[in-house]
């Protein structure tokens, strides 16, 4: 334990230099500004801002990006609360009661509880990370290539199963991402694959380009073509403070949300759902549950805390095993490799000072977030008043620039456009985007671990079940793969039984898609207007435990990215 604190102390020594504090500050600031842009969430923000971290040493660069991460999450909360436009799935829940609070003139307390809750959660989850990571890292060393392979596939399946609309489309998106990852030189054999003879493709498709293209471009184009009317910041003046009552009511949700969010964040794929679980939990424990859906502060405090705690939780598998559980952590993984570092148990040992510096910077980032956001929210809100053509024209210009900085040639920029169009097509046809990104990141790891596993075992597949760990993982894998299919088969059987069939037919995926898309097609302003006049509608939707098809907020917002 003392060793732990000694390491942390070292980390702080590195992190608390004036330069790094400045970077943390800058990161949070820029992150919040970018996160405030409607439709831009943490993943897109980080993807866009990766070029900004070029030329920095790893510590500073990662500190900057951590700041951006936290900042953009809070920026997303701001837009959720003020204009009901969550940038990513994680903010969807905040938008429910957060916006209701705004409508009742309580935007200030909503933002305050989000900020304080985020701080508490972020700090607590960093503590959790600090305590858990070394533990997990020591177990992870016991992971052989076979176990690693199984874990990766499991993580991939769980993550892609998350998409709201359709499992089939999520699977297709995942494999598509993996198919793009293959492009380039095979690391084992040294031959070019799928490059069609184009030399520039030998290095493969840059992950940041893929992420930028898939997330930022479709969103920007959608808004610019006016297909996505978004409520303008209907904000008057507000002061970001909370009454004593607010504090009292928020306390419990903050802590419960933090713990819930952290542990949920540990699990790949599911990590983003912390806020979705916090909502019904808080509702059950609330003194006045009927207020949920009409601006209950607990409904903002809990989910917001869960969100931020999920960030710390998500870092655990990333640092200890090198396994990203979400597009954002996948991006961070990319940044690590860009700096020549390979996250995993090896890294925890070799580069412990770096890891501890990053952990220290996470504490720092949380503090900066609080200091910056409580007084200065008004400034960020002003950003919302910038006309869309400027805002999103800027975003598009930045995407092109980002692509340029990653390749310094025309080809990189063209590639980003190509994938941007692919992203638009994917969105239009209802394919989730996040699984594609995860497929891209995980494919090289999956392929290499499979090869190593088989090489070690001499081609014998028994290696995937011959140790207790691998046998368990394989069993889990089979369960996760076949489970949904079994359920569907059972439902079909029920269909044959007439009336039951009628009831079940109404609940199948196709109808969810139709409903969600019909809502999108009707335009969100319709929805907002309707919900204003009929608060009960929001209440009703919010009353149901939000599933990942979350009520009236359409899936198309969620396809932006899964988060955190």
């Amino acid at each position: 334990m003392t060793e732990l604190f000694a390491s942390l102390g070292d980390g702080f020594a590195q992190a608390l230099t004036p330069t790094n504090i400045a970077f943390s500050f800058l990161g949070v600031l820029i992150g919040t500004m970018v996160g405030v842009i409607p439709g831009i969430g943490p993943t897109t923000a980080i993807a866009l801002l990766i070029p900004v971290s070029f030329g920095l040493d790893p510590v500073s660069g990662l500190i900057l990006l951590c700041g951006i991460y936290y900042g953009s999450m809070y920026g997303g909360s701001i837009t959720s609360i003020l204009i009901r436009t969550p940038g990513e799935i994680a903010s969807v829940v905040t938008a429910i009661d957060g916006y209701e609070m705004t409508l009742r003139g309580r935007a200030g307390p909503a933002l305050a509880t989000a900020a304080v809750g985020s701080f508490i959660a972020g700090t607590l989850s960093t503590v959790g990370l600090m305590l858990l990571a070394p533990l997990l890292a020591s177990i992870a060393v016991a992971f052989g290539a076979a176990e690693y392979f199984l874990l990766l596939v499991l993580a991939l399946i769980m993550t892609s199963g998350l998409a709201g609309d359709s499992r089939l489309k999520a699977a297709i998106a995942t494999v598509f991402g993996m198919s793009i990852a293959v492009i380039g030189i095979d690391p084992q054999a040294g031959v070019s694959r799928m490059t069609l003879g184009i030399l520039e493709l030998d290095d493969g498709v840059d992950f940041a380009i893929f992420a930028m293209a898939l997330f930022a471009i479709p969103e920007a184009l959608k808004i610019l073509t006016g297909k996505e009317p978004h409520a303008h910041a209907r904000v008057g003046r507000f002061r970001v403070t909370m009454s004593r009552e607010d504090w009292r009511r928020s306390r419990g949700p903050w802590f419960r949300g933090s713990i819930l969010g952290f542990f949920v964040g540990l699990l790949p794929g599911i990590g983003t759902l912390g806020s979705f679980m916090s909502y019904p939990l808080e509702k059950k424990l609330a003194k006045r549950p009927e207020e949920f859906g009409k601006g209950a502060i607990e409904a903002v405090a809990g989910p917001e805390a869960a969100n931020n705690a999920g960030v710390g939780g998500g870092m655990v598998p990333l640092f200890t095993l090198g396994i990203p559980g979400s597009p954002t952590t996948a991006l961070l993984l990319f940044v690590f490799t860009m700096y020549g570092l390979q996250p995993g148990p090896q890294l925890m040992q070799d580069e412990s000072t770096l890891i501890w510096a990053i952990i220290a910077s996470m504490y720092l980032g949380n503090v900066v977030l609080l200091l910056l956001n409580l007084p200065f929210v008004g400034m960020f809100v002003k950003l919302l008043k910038i006309p869309e053509p400027m805002l999103f024209g800027g975003v598009l210009a930045f995407v092109v620039l980002g692509a340029y900085t990653l390749g310094f040639n025309l080809f990189s920029m063209l590639i980003v456009l190509v994938f941007g169009l692919v992203g638009c097509a994917m969105q239009k046809f209802g394919f989730p985007l996040a699984p594609a990104v995860l497929g891209l990141v995980l494919e090289p790891l999956i392929e290499s671990s499979l090869r190593r596993a088989l090489q070690i075992s001499g081609g014998d597949p028994v290696t995937f079940v011959d140790s207790p760990m691998s046998a368990t993982l394989t069993a889990l894998l089979v369960l996760v793969l076949l489970g949904p299919l079994l359920l569907k088969a059972l439902r079909r059987r029920g269909k044959d039984l007439g009336i039951i069939g009628e009831a079940l037919e109404g609940s199948d995926e196709d109808d969810h898609l139709a409903r969600a898309s019909a809502v999108t097609a009707a335009g969100r302003t319709d929805l907002t207007a309707a919900d204003q006049t009929d608060g009960a509608a929001t209440g009703r939707a919010a009353g149901d435990p939000p599933t990942h098809e979350a009520g009236p907020l359409p899936a198309s917002q969620g396809t932006g990215a899964n988060e955190p």
């Binding site: 198919s179 054999a189 799928m194 210009a397 456009l417 239009k428 494919e443």
Partner: protein, 188 residues
């Protein structure tokens, strides 16, 4: 609602077709991957690509099947209510109106979409020759004028300030050189 839903079903089949085509094409290219010249590995270079291509082809076919099946189901449902609504024509007119209303904003949005794409392509192409500053300024001005020509002064100001700010940011803070293009020699 039925009108909207049915127009969603065909896209599934179209998407599925596109995925299948991609999958097959991908697998074909993958089969042409050279083999591992050095060791004989259990999982060769072509293994995963071919697998992905195959999975995508299958997935695409499944999607097509689903799209066609659902389309048939929706058409079945539409037939029944419209048969009932035939005597009461207002109901029939209404659903036709709904459909055209839903499709009306689409053509304009679609056109601006492709205009924006064209602008982006143009931007990318002139990025290096014209240099970052000029190319970005032109791009932004064109984009904003297309979307909102009235506020031309603000647009112009933004079109100039934005690239300048970014150029300075990248040049001074991040130390990345952006192309100077036609302004080469003029800029420090």
């Amino acid at each position: 609602m039925a009108a909207l839903s049915s127009s969603l079903r065909r896209p599934d089949a179209i998407a599925g077709l596109a995925v299948t085509v991609y999958g097959i094409g991908y697998a074909v290219v993958a089969l042409g991957t050279p083999e591992d010249p050095s060791q004989n590995s259990v999982v060769g270079p072509s293994a995963f690509p071919v697998l992905f291509g195959g999975l995508l082809a299958l997935g695409g076919l499944a999607l097509v099947a689903r799209g066609l099946r659902a389309a048939r189901r929706r058409t079945g449902r539409e037939v029944a209510p419209s048969a009932e609504a035939a005597p009461a024509s207002p109901a029939g007119d209404q659903s036709a109106e709904e459909q055209s209303a839903a499709e009306q904003p689409a053509p304009r949005a679609r056109r601006s979409f492709w205009v924006l794409v064209a602008l982006l392509i143009g931007y990318v192409l002139v990025f290096q020759p014209l240099g970052y500053l000029v190319a970005t300024a032109v791009f932004l001005m064109a984009l904003m004028t297309y979307l909102n020509a009235r506020r031309w002064l603000v647009n112009l100001a933004f079109s100039i300030l934005f690239p300048v700010a970014v150029y300075l940011l990248f040049g001074l803070v991040i130390r990345v050189t952006l192309p100077t293009g036609v302004l080469t020699g003029v800029l420090p």
